[in-house]
Symmetry: D4
């Protein structure tokens, strides 16, 4: 009875959606410490790049108080579809955004964004309704407080979304260290200080 | 298999139910800080008004220790159905309350109240049983502590209620900033200090 | 699709099971503060008495390190079935315990105990398997820490148990204040300091 | 409707899988205090030994920064299958590991590991897909923080895994104190300081 | 250089001042859980009674929103000086209050009250200025939050007040168990559930 | 030995200094929740106005990223000295600021600001050096986290500053309710939801 | 002005006082997790032994509910002075205890005990009064909660006691790793899991 | 009486001491999140460089389990005195370290290190004894837990050390934005995500 298909992330079937990580909106994120949140978002972007996942950027009202997208994201994905939404709150309500996703032909959506209960949850629920497999990158998505977060997580989980942190995503996509030991180690070292320390020590003792 | 209809809040199908936000009962709320809780309740009321949702007020034993309804709520909705229940703990057990809901012809119920496991959970479970779609406004509902809260959330979620904070409600109802940029911005600015700061800065630099 | 029967507590169909609130085992409870936990357990016992619920007491190894049952519970229910289990960890594995439950002819089981993941969860899962409706009194059940608690809650909730704190139980059983205003007020006043304060103030101003 | 089979741990059908408790990886565990986590892991190993559960050890890249397995685990299970995976992140992707499990003929898998969302969740989801009953030993599994933990728990729980702490496992396996009072008491005393105190007091007063 | 006189509580030189534990004001206390705070206040009153300390009660505006004194305190000290202050916020500004203290001829003041930074700190600072030795009963004094508490503690400590919880007070006054084993044990048992459990177990094993 | 002068706030000798509560800098405040912090700052401003304290506003680089002063503060004190510092980080390094203070002839400085360890601590330490009595309004001063806060509090406290929350300030300045019952009650009601509830209930029962 | 003699722990001048770590009293300790607290106490004992500090054990009412001393402590110090106090709450009030200390001729007292505000603070304050240098081993001393702890720390610190955790004590006594690398490493490895991991990894890579 | 000299950091009189930020020891730091701690340490190093403070690096047993210094620190200060201590735990016990400090002719010592109660506190207390002014960079110093931290802070503060976070240090050294707006802004932007966002927004709106 508990048998259930393991919907596993696949680097040939996954797309990364980065939704509204804008300089103004970031000041609303209070459920994760800013140092850590910034690191998580950049780690998520780095893994998308490392695994060559098609990546789609979108923003809401860049010209207004929400502010511009984090410049680092623009620089990392200069050729990615970039959908500056003219007003739709749910990115899925924007045709260009959905078209860009469908153009990849992929069915697994990784979504991270600010704030969780809106910019992540709304497109997640829309995508599930259309049959996509949705993975919420929980630690690269931020919101006001724990009540907002857990309400959003519950809503998405009950609808069938899978909750997973960026480290879990990276490991599930990589499958086997032997595919590229150095590449994965570098990714982890750049975003997990404890892992960086392990590597520093290892190199010192083995070097 | 994870395909699931996205039951989206719709401003033409939603009703706001504010249950027992009474001066005495508010002293029982200890899972949310009082400054924040008051703000959340007023924000929820404001959004109901802004989106012109039919709103129904109800209280339990106003004359006794539970105390009178928050005066602000009465003032904001002078013409709303106001059901001072003579004794029913579950508002749904009061005919006038249910009639007032059914009179709106709407099927999406937004419920906020004090305390979560009683004044919110009981009518939520009753409404689900009658086929309504129930959305619990989690941050405008308060209770004694985290154990009470999470027990109640789990019970309602397992029965099919959707958990969502007031900001999520406002955004899902609004759909598109272009429907009224200034209106939504004012609502957010009045209840989210961080957002207010973004607007202050924006105006200073753009003004 | 979210329509789901509201399994409501009914004072004519509910039994209270108090499992292993023993002086030694109580020292293991670290997920709830001792002052509060003691109050919650006594409140749960009081409500069982107030609503005249058949109540069943059981202990594990009273003669050994687990220690004797809290004396207050024995005193409150001098005539209740008292099953001092000779060794079964899951109370449901003890025939006398199950017989005592079945002898009541009731189908709704309220369970509280120490520790949550064992003394509560095991009989809860057994009872669900036999078709009983199970309600876990979450705040009168204690354990080592949050990991133990949330693991146990998840296991029981996924199996169909309903999680509810003692205040929720009391209110769902009472249904309507008019059934006995003074009785319920006394129960609440004796176990909720904030409520007691409301009544004190009310009496002072009205007296 | 809530009737659901109680999938009970059975000492004749359970296998213990200890995944990647390596000296380097342990420095990544930040959701449980190190004193407590070390104790939980050793308690889990001790119970496996006490109940004579077939136990399987596995590591990832022992020669690299992840570091060697905790020496205590090697010493406790000198004859257990020990699968030093050459690169597979999901232990289930390693044939030797799965063969070792299947060779036991058992269908209940107890899994503990570091980190929860990878080394525990991946094999858990794989095993569920193949029809095994999976029990996650939550407090002997560690990860970066609460977001990582709760995301992983939710993913596994929704797939049908049961969450349970080591104390719950021990009690569910033991069933009845009379099977061996002294054995279980020793196990608990060695890993639960509060229980040890009860026994010390008991012996002093009874001795 | 660190030699410093130990100003020890002395039951023949100490007075207990209970300031403004009023039903309304108690709802402001948010830095200690209500169950625990109520217990601490009653324990403090009990110890004053047990050690026969002259005790002085005072309130601020009982007729207004601050509400009446906790009825239990009135009942416990029917003959104590009771100063219902007509308006002075600092009880020390009320002549009757200071007279009542000076009438005892004692120089050690134990002060507990609501809220800490006002009802406790103001008279504490005034009394220190007049050369009294001041002991703040920290856990029977409550306020809005940790910032308020720690600011007040720092201000009083820097002025020379000693911070001590009620249990410390009881033990420092008692000096030696042999002065009255049963009396102290009863006091502790009535207000410390963990201690009550020790006694229950002890009696069961020794009885 | 513990005798120490009680340096009591005096409404005829106190000045309120509001330092750098600017829209941009407010996003740096993470040791107090934004809803609560905004309320505390406005309460502090309100009390300054209510007690007719000379109030001095100052900002740092309003034209740059630090952003403009909270507009509410400007509106509340249209005639107050307003020192837009051209670059000095420590407001005390700005001659106009110090002149404005000295012009009042007062010796008690109430300081609140953002961030605590810089905008509050630097002028506090400078003022102490010049013999002023300094009172830090701790809950109207915010910073990055608890480490920053407690470091700053310790540094200021060791130098002789007194730490006090806004409620303590208001009560110490007011001295006696009879000076103006309604005025103080309104101030408290506007900024302490729990107090507002007490008044609402009181009015309902007495009205 | 800030020049102050560094009172440094000296292994030839220090005595270790272990006060009332009794099986019953340990159940009162709620400000430190039991796994960690047990470890801290044993580490403190180990370091006393390692540095050959004269060590004095004392208990209060072993025959009553307080229970016997932790057996491990008795076993580690079979020849240490062992003062079973007949009733004195402050160990310093017991002549044998003070004599045992004075017999060592040493002037630096390390004190750890249960509970902090009584069994540690009382003898600490008495010893300071007699001119001893007192060091409180903060993490091997436990009490009811944070309020009790911080009140006690403040009282002792203001009187001149130095607060230090066991690791600090060990390092200050050792002075230089070269005095015995292996000995100190073993001590740390046995009580700090993170340090143990470093050594395990180091040995694996260097071995 | 509260007049006290403001010992202000002065960029011409300050030295930065970075003590034992080694890859192994960093795994012991559990009182600050690793992402944040790494950021704080690098920020502290950056500010030393920016203000051209003489900087001294020291390590303990680099060849053993403590591991090598964080490579970034070595790279940032290639010409700084680098004292690899052969065994002294207190860096002040190493002649080369003290000589390097004295060679600068400066009297203000900024100290950050791992762990706080040893590598920071010991040299801090030694330096105070020799008349240096000591400033502890609290958020670039880490240790096992809050008990260790607060014990160490109290010990150092009572001896006259000033506690201050890196941001406070940078601002106190800089004095006036006009000394170099861009330089300070870059330093803050690189280490405070919230500040970076302010600058991003500012540039977008002004650019």
């Amino acid at each position: 009875m508990t048998t259930k298909t393991y919907k596993k992330l696949n680097k040939d079937d996954a797309v990364m959606l980065l939704v509204d990580h804008q300089a103004g909106l970031l000041s609303l994120v209070r459920d994760i410490d800013p140092d850590k949140f910034r690191n998580n978002v950049l780690a998520t972007a780095d893994l998308a790049k490392y695994f060559k996942l098609p990546t789609i950027l979108t923003t809401s009202f860049e010209q207004g108080p929400n502010g511009p997208l984090m410049p680092e994201l623009k620089e990392m994905f200069p050729d990615a579809p970039y959908v500056a939404r003219p007003g739709q709150i749910n990115a899925w309500d924007n045709e260009d955004f959905v078209k860009a996703i469908k153009a990849t032909g992929r069915r697994q959506l990784l979504i991270a964004g600010v704030v969780t209960e809106v910019c992540v949850a709304f497109p997640a629920l829309s995508a599930i309704e259309e049959g996509f497999d949705v993975f919420v990158v929980t630690d690269a998505s931020g919101t006001f407080n724990d009540i907002a977060r857990h309400s959003a997580w519950d809503r998405m989980s009950q609808a069938g979304a899978q909750l997973i942190n960026w480290f879990g995503v990276a490991c599930e996509l990589h499958r086997d260290w032997r595919n590229d030991v150095e590449g994965l180690a570098t990714l982890l070292s750049n975003h997990i200080p404890d892992y960086r320390n392990l590597i520093t020590t290892y190199n010192a003792l083995k070097g």
